[in-house]
C-alpha cells in the first residue's frame, strides 16, 4: 500500500526515495547513539556536590610542579583531577566539588560515597573544562602526570592550579604531603602520619617475627594481555612492607626503583620463593586487571604461596592517602593472623 501523500512529505517520488534512503542510512547511527546513551546512563547517578559558596580573600604561595602558585589560604571549592589528590583530600577532611573518574571500582570503599557525590570532571586524559569552570573552583589540585601536565595551562586559566611533581621513583607519600600543603592542612596531615606510623609500629610489634621471617612478592594483572606485573620494593606496597620489616622474595627484589616488570604467564615460577603474594583488587574484593587468569593456571596454583592460601588482595594497592596505606597494613596483618604457624 502506498503512503498517503501529505503536505509535510516530499512532493516527488524521487525526493521521497531520497528521504527514505537517508532515513535508512541514519537509522543505524541513531540506534547506535541511543544504545550508547543507554549504556552510559547505566552507571551514572553522580551529582555535583556543592561545597560552601564563596572564597576567602587571604592567599598563600605554594611550591608546585609548575613553580610557585598563589592559592587561597582556605580553599572551599576544590576540584581534583587525579585520584591520589582526591583520596588525600578526603583523608584531610575536605570534600572536593569535582573529581576525576577513573572507574568507581578503583575508588577505595572508605571514599566511595564522597567520590560518588562529587561532580565528575575528567576521564583519564579527557578533561571537561566547561564543567570544571561551571563548578567555580577556587583551587584545582592534581598530580603532574604527563596527560595532566599538558592540561595545566588551560586549568590554571580557570582557577589556581597546584600539581604535585610526578616521578616514577617518588614515594607514594610525596602526593598526600603535597596535597596537604596545597590545601593548607598540614596539621591534619601530621595527625594522619602519626596514625600511620603508630599502626606500622603496632603491627611490627605484634607480627615482627612473621614479617621478617617471610618473603613477599607484589603483583597485579598486566594491562598487556598474557602478562602480569611484578612491583618492586620502592612501589607503594613494597614501601609499606619494608616499613613493616618484611623481606622481599626474589621477583620483587629484582625490580628496579620506580619500575614494574611485565612478565609472561609462563613465568609464574618467578614467584616460587615467595611465602606471600600481595595483589590488587577492585573495591568489591574481586581481582583487578584480569589477574584471575594467572590465578587459574596450574603453574600459579602450584606456587607455595598459592598452595598455602597466602595470596593477599588489597584495594589500596596504589595508595593515595595515609588511610589507604593503613588499609594495606590492615590487609597484611589480617593475612598474617589468618595463617598462624
Amino acid at each position: 500500500m502506498n503512503p498517503v501523500p501529505s503536505p509535510a512529505r516530499p512532493a516527488t517520488a524521487h525526493a521521497a526515495r531520497a528521504v527514505r534512503r537517508r532515513t535508512r542510512v541514519l537509522r543505524p547511527a541513531v540506534a547506535a547513539a541511543a544504545l550508547a546513551l543507554a549504556l552510559t546512563a547505566c552507571d551514572s547517578g553522580s551529582s555535583a556536590a556543592g561545597g560552601a559558596g564563596g572564597t576567602t580573600a587571604a592567599t598563600r604561595v605554594v611550591g608546585t610542579a609548575h613553580g610557585k602558585v598563589t592559592v587561597p589560604a582556605h580553599p572551599l571549592r576544590i576540584v581534583s583531577v587525579h585520584s591520589w589528590s582526591t583520596e588525600s583530600l578526603f583523608d584531610l577532611g575536605l570534600t572536593p566539588v569535582g573529581v576525576e573518574d577513573s572507574g568507581a571500582n578503583y575508588v577505595p570503599p572508605r571514599y566511595l560515597k564522597g567520590w560518588k557525590a562529587a561532580a565528575k570532571v575528567s576521564t583519564g586524559a579527557d578533561l571537561d573544562y566547561e564543567r570544571i569552570a561551571a563548578l567555580k573552583p577556587d583551587l584545582i589540585v592534581g598530580v603532574d602526570v604527563p596527560y595532566l601536565s599538558k592540561a595545566y595551562r588551560r586549568l590554571s586559566a580557570i582557577a589556581p592550579t597546584a600539581f604535585a611533581s610526578f616521578r616514577e621513583s617518588d614515594s607514594w607519600t610525596a602526593y598526600p604531603d603535597a596535597t596537604a600543603s596545597f590545601v593548607n592542612r598540614t596539621a591534619q596531615l601530621a595527625r594522619l602520619k602519626k596514625k600511620y606510623a603508630d599502626r606500622i609500629a603496632a603491627v611490627r610489634a605484634a607480627e615482627g617475627a612473621k614479617l621478617s621471617g617471610s618473603r613477599w612478592d607484589v603483583i597485579q594483572g598486566g594491562f598487556d594481555s598474557g602478562n602480569y606485573w611484578i612491583y618492586g620494593p620502592s612501589s607503594p606496597v613494597g614501601d609499606i612492607l619494608a616499613r613493616l620489616g618484611a623481606r622481599f622474595a626474589s621477583a620483587t627484589a629484582a625490580v628496579d626503583k620506580g619500575a614494574t616488570k611485565s612478565v609472561s604467564y609462563e613465568r609464574a615460577d618467578l614467584l616460587k620463593d615467595a611465602d606471600h603474594l600481595v595483589y590488587y583488587t577492585n573495591n568489591d574484593g574481586s581481582p583487578a586487571n584480569d589477574i584471575q587468569k594467572l590465578f587459574a593456571l596450574r603453574a600459579f596454583k602450584e606456587l607455595p604461596a598459592a598452595r598455602n592460601h597466602r595470596v593477599v588482595g588489597t584495594a589500596d594497592f596504589l595508595p593515595g592517602s595515609y588511610n589507604d596505606a593503613i588499609g594495606v597494613v590492615d590487609a597484611i596483618e589480617k593475612a598474617l593472623k589468618d595463617h598462624t604457624g
Binding site: 550508547a36 598486566g222 594481555s225 598474557g226 602478562n227 611485565s262 609462563e266
Partner: protein, 356 residues
C-alpha cells in the same frame, strides 16, 4: 550457484598437448609450493609449542605432549602454549581466507576483513557485553563478539544491497566503512563515558593469543570450520566473478548468491576469529597479496595458500612477541602490524599489486 571453475591463469596458449603439459607443470609447482608452505607452518607450530618466555627442554615439551600434565612445565606447554598455537593456526587461517574473500567480493586489493565492519561489530558487541555484564571472560565475550560481527555484516549488506546482482563492490565497501565509523563512535562514547568499561575493554582491544584457555579454541572452531568450508566452496564462482558480473553470469555463476554466501563466510571467519583473540591487523590484508605472488589469482589455489600463510604469519608473530620481550610478551596483534607492514610495503614495491 554456478559450477564454472574457469581459471584466468590456466588458459595457456599453444597446442592441446603442450597446454596440457604446461597446466600439469603449473599444478605440480603449485602443489609443491603448497607442501612447502605447509612444511613452514609445521615448523612454526613446533617452534611455538617448544619456545616461549620460559625455557623448557625439548624432551620435557615432548613428554608433556605425549603423557600429559606431570609437572608445572608440562602445564605451561599444555595450558598456555598449545591453546595459543592452535588458536593462532585457526585464527590466522581464517583471517587469511577472509582477506581473500573480501578482496574478491569487493574487487579491491586494499580490502581486508575490517572493511565490512565485521571486526568493529565484534568489538562493539564486546563493549556492550562489558558495559551490561562487567565480564571479559573469553567464553562469555566470544558469543557477543560473534553476534556483533553477524549483525554488523547483515547491516552492511542491507545498506549496500541493491539490484539483482547483490551488493555491488563499491557500495558494499562504502556501507562497511559507514557502519564501521558508527560502531567505532559507539565504542568511543561508551568507553569514554564509562571508565570501568574502558578498563576492561583494553584487555581485549589489542589482539592477543596469550592467556586464552583451550575452551576458546573449541568454542570458535565450529564457526571457523563452517566459514572455511563455505569459502572454499566459492573458489570457482569467485574466479568467474573476477571476470566481471556479466561474464560470470554468462558462465553460469549466480552472482548474487556468490556474494551473499561470501559475506556469510567472511562473517563466520572474522566474527569467530575476532571474538577469540580480539582485532588482529594486517593478516587479512597482507596475506592474500603474499599468497597471490605464489599462486596467481586462481582462487582454488589462492585460498588454501592464504590459509596456510595466514596461520604461519600469525603463529610466527606470536613466537616473535614471546621471544623478543622475555620474560614478558608482546601481543600478536602488535607484532603482526609491525612485521606485516614492512612485508606488505616490500611486496608493493617489488611488483605491481596483482589484478584481482
Amino acid at each position: 550457484m554456478g559450477t564454472a571453475t574457469i581459471s584466468t591463469t590456466d588458459v595457456v596458449p599453444g597446442t592441446d598437448g603442450e597446454g596440457r603439459r604446461r597446466r600439469t607443470a603449473v599444478t605440480a609447482a603449485r602443489l609443491l609450493g603448497l607442501l612447502l608452505v605447509c612444511a613452514l607452518l609445521a615448523l612454526v607450530t613446533v617452534v611455538s609449542v617448544a619456545v616461549g618466555a620460559k625455557a623448557i627442554p625439548p624432551g620435557e615439551v615432548l613428554r608433556a605432549l605425549l603423557h600429559g600434565r606431570a609437572s608445572v612445565d608440562d602445564s605451561v606447554v599444555l595450558d598456555l602454549r598449545l591453546p595459543r598455537t592452535l588458536l593462532g593456526i585457526a585464527v590466522g587461517a581464517a583471517l587469511g581466507l577472509a582477506g581473500v574473500l573480501m578482496q574478491a567480493l569487493t574487487r579491491n586489493p586494499l580490502a581486508d576483513p575490517g572493511l565490512l565492519g565485521v571486526n568493529m561489530g565484534a568489538s562493539a558487541a564486546v563493549v556492550v557485553a562489558i558495559a551490561l555484564w562487567h565480564s571479559t571472560d573469553p567464553s562469555f565475550c566470544v558469543w557477543f563478539a560473534f553476534a556483533g560481527a553477524g549483525l554488523a555484516s547483515a547491516l552492511v549488506h542491507l545498506l549496500g544491497s541493491r539490484g539483482r546482482s547483490g551488493p555491488p563492490p563499491v557500495r558494499l565497501a562504502l556501507a562497511g566503512t559507514a557502519v564501521s565509523a558508527v560502531l567505532s563512535a559507539l565504542i568511543s562514547v561508551v568507553t569514554l563515558l564509562r571508565p570501568d568499561v574502558f578498563d576492561q575493554f583494553r584487555f581485549w582491544g589489542v589482539g592477543s593469543l596469550g592467556g586464552q584457555p583451550m575452551s576458546v579454541v573449541t568454542e570458535v572452531l565450529p564457526f571457523l570450520g563452517a566459514g572455511a568450508l563455505l569459502a572454499l566452496g566459492l573458489s570457482g564462482p569467485l574466479n568467474t566473478l573476477a571476470l566481471g558480473d556479466d561474464t560470470a553470469r554468462a558462465l553460469g555463476t549466480g552472482v548474487r548468491r556468490t556474494r551473499l554466501l561470501g559475506l556469510l563466510a567472511v562473517t563466520l571467519l572474522c566474527g569467530a576469529a575476532t571474538a577469540a583473540v580480539g582485532p588482529i591487523a594486517f593478516v587479512g590484508l597482507a596475506v592474500p597479496h603474499l599468497a597471490r605472488t605464489l599462486t596467481g589469482p586462481d582462487h582454488r589455489w589462492l585460498m588454501p595458500y592464504a590459509m596456510v600463510c595466514g596461520a604461519a604469519l600469525l603463529v610466527g608473530s606470536d613466537i616473535l612477541g614471546r621471544v623478543l620481550a622475555r620474560p614478558g610478551e608482546i601481543q600478536a596483534g602488535i607484532v603482526t602490524a609491525f612485521a606485516g607492514a614492512p612485508v606488505f610495503i616490500a611486496l608493493v614495491r617489488r611488483r605491481r599489486i596483482a589484478e584481482l
